[in-house]
Symmetry: C2
Subunit: 340 residues, 2 copies
DNA sequence: CGTATTACCTGAACCGGTTCAGTAGTCCCA
DNA sequence: TGGGACTACTGAACCGGTTCAGGTAATACG
């Protein structure tokens, strides 16, 4: 229990520190016999190498960082993040990396300051970046800081890729959704997206617009901010601010907004799906529990986190910059688009 | 951008490493002039001290750990954890501590191994422990490992407290709930709790039983496991396995089980609250969105996390073992207990 | 005026690992 | 028999901070 050190182990075994180190790290330069003796002793003493000493001499922190930059309110209610986190942690644990988590209010300056600090202190070996923005300043910043990173939801920039990241086929997702609505006979739909500063929203908007055009469906776009209330407001606006007739179906950018939309319908005395159908771009327990239950695109956040983390690990390990596309999302059809 | 070191700064300024270190850490032994020069240069160069070097020489990791030990499925759906995390992170950030997060399946051996590893590697300065168990082996383990910890939901062990932790007044919470049901005229209620291995569940069960007895209310207890399905099963059992008449109100140990209960009622063709009222021991968006919306005890997980983290910080800082009781929970009355 | 005190500063040791250059010893083969 | 190659091992430097035990020089005191 007294804190042993490598020097201590060496003395006990009558060999040098160097040999102990080689033995522990599976490096050549020691006989099998010596290696066994070292490993056995380490186990017997329940000894582990000091992470800080190791980090110092290897100039490697043994940890990756992740800044969750969102409204504290949203963080607490958005199940997507938890799933993502779980996936990330699982992958990192397998690669023997620790996860440093930092939550900041939606404030670019704070996120930036965190990266600068982490890079300066060499506290993390790399970071996971989420929600790629239009003209995102973060890749350039991280590049300048020399901090390796993986961009979750990166643009597909051809090969070889310019930066490491995961890509999702938003066009295919859009098509899945629009096809489903088309099959349901909808001719006037609305798309309530998150902020267009997010690159993936831009792609989704385009995807929906183009696919709808091909099917001769009129689509109205409304920009909101992922919060429950903004979904409610969007729906109210779409129904009451009568442009050329209200939509018969509304696609929401996440589950919370979908819930808001549902509430708005109830307040307006309209029925879902009979009067207005609803689709959520994100599945979660909320969609299952709502009444009516909400048709949703299941994106498997756990898997996404896992893949992103694996990319980062291999980037740190081999320096290999690569992108990986997410497995296609699956549409879970529920009552909100199935007229009775 | 070239990675500066303390030696580099010292050379530039023509002074010794020691002086630079003293200046940076606000320690005596340098003139105000020198201190300013050092700080200015550090800022100009965007220099930060290497965390691993600092950790090594101070023998302090600058991080605290937290093991989230739960079903991956539950972690992803249970909003309580996210709120807790957000609170913890906020407090830690203010104290300049990093948060190391580790998620493991509900497996005591893995949690134990994580603590042993962290202690051995001196990777964290302390840990946050959640969900105090009956005969919890963790305090003794952490004591043996010499790892300071704060127990969230510790028993109130008089003064001076034996270990650092937060306490909640489960008796008062129980009373709040039972009073509300009593006022609603309920005479036969059921309490669907989480596993009794959790100390707080034990206290809740006792609290509900005793308070109900004082009011002449009959209470039936059912042990479940926090999952949606178990709530559903519990409700089904309570209604159909007719003991002396089904309850007119059911208290669920968390929000997920409450949702399950609601689903079961729907399946059984019963109406809430007219046939059976529901109260959740945990508030969340689910309770607000459900139809009917569910009366819930709001426990403010963010605040709880914050307090726990602050306790740990002060324990690490001053070594002071203390307990702090959580601000009382508040009952948010909604439709599920308000007959129309 | 001599000495004790203080303020400021420095060289060197230290934290606990990794790693490089170098030293024996062994084996092999011409 | 001698030398090249290989294996097993070691001492010491190094990573980048912190901290301790002095050492000046200036100031205070009797």
């Amino acid at each position: 229990m007294a804190k042993e050190t490598i020097a201590g182990l060496a003395k006990r075994l009558g060999i040098s520190k160097a040999s102990v180190s080689y033995a522990l790290n599976g490096q050549p330069g020691v006989s099998e016999l010596t290696r066994r003796r070292v490993l056995d002793l380490a186990e017997e003493l329940e000894w582990y190498p000091s992470s800080s000493a190791r980090a110092l001499s290897r100039s490697r922190a043994g940890a990756v960082g992740m800044v969750l930059s969102a409204d504290p309110l949203l963080i607490g209610t958005e199940p997507y993040y938890m799933g993502l986190l779980a996936g990330i942690e699982t992958a990192l644990a397998e690669g023997d990396m620790a996860l440093l988590l930092r939550m900041v209010a939606k404030d670019p300056a704070q996120e930036r300051a965190t990266y600068e600090r982490w890079a300066g202190e060499r506290k993390v070996d790399g970071v996971l970046v989420f929600d790629h923005l239009h003209d995102d300043p973060r890749p350039a910043l991280l590049e300048r800081l020399g901090l390796p990173f993986v961009l979750h939801g990166a643009p597909d920039t051809g090969s070889p890729p310019a930066l490491s990241g995961t890509t999702a086929d938003h066009g295919a997702d859009s098509a899945t959704i629009v096809h489903h609505l088309d099959a349901g006979g909808h001719r006037r739909i609305a798309h309530v997206s998150g902020p267009q500063t997010f690159l993936h929203e831009e792609e989704r908007i385009r995807g929906v617009r183009e696919c709808a055009a091909r099917h001769g469906i009129r689509v109205e776009h409304y920009e909101a901010d992922y919060a429950l209330e903004s979904g409610r407001k969007a729906m109210t606006h779409l129904i009451t601010a009568g442009s050329a007739g209200p939509p018969t179906a509304v696609v929401f950018g996440n589950d919370l907004m979908s819930m808001g939309g549902l509430l708005a319908l109830r307040d307006l005395g309209l029925r879902c799906p009979d009067d207005v159908a609803i689709i959520s771009w994100d599945d979660s327990l909320h969609c299952q529990l709502a009444s009516p239950s909400v048709t949703a695109l299941s994106r498997n956040p756990g898997m996404q986190g896992r893949v992103a983390a694996e990319l980062l690990l291999s980037l740190l390990d081999t320096g290999e910059v690569q992108t990986r596309s997410m497995p296609g999302s699956e549409l879970v059809v529920r009552s909100s688009t199935s007229p009775t």
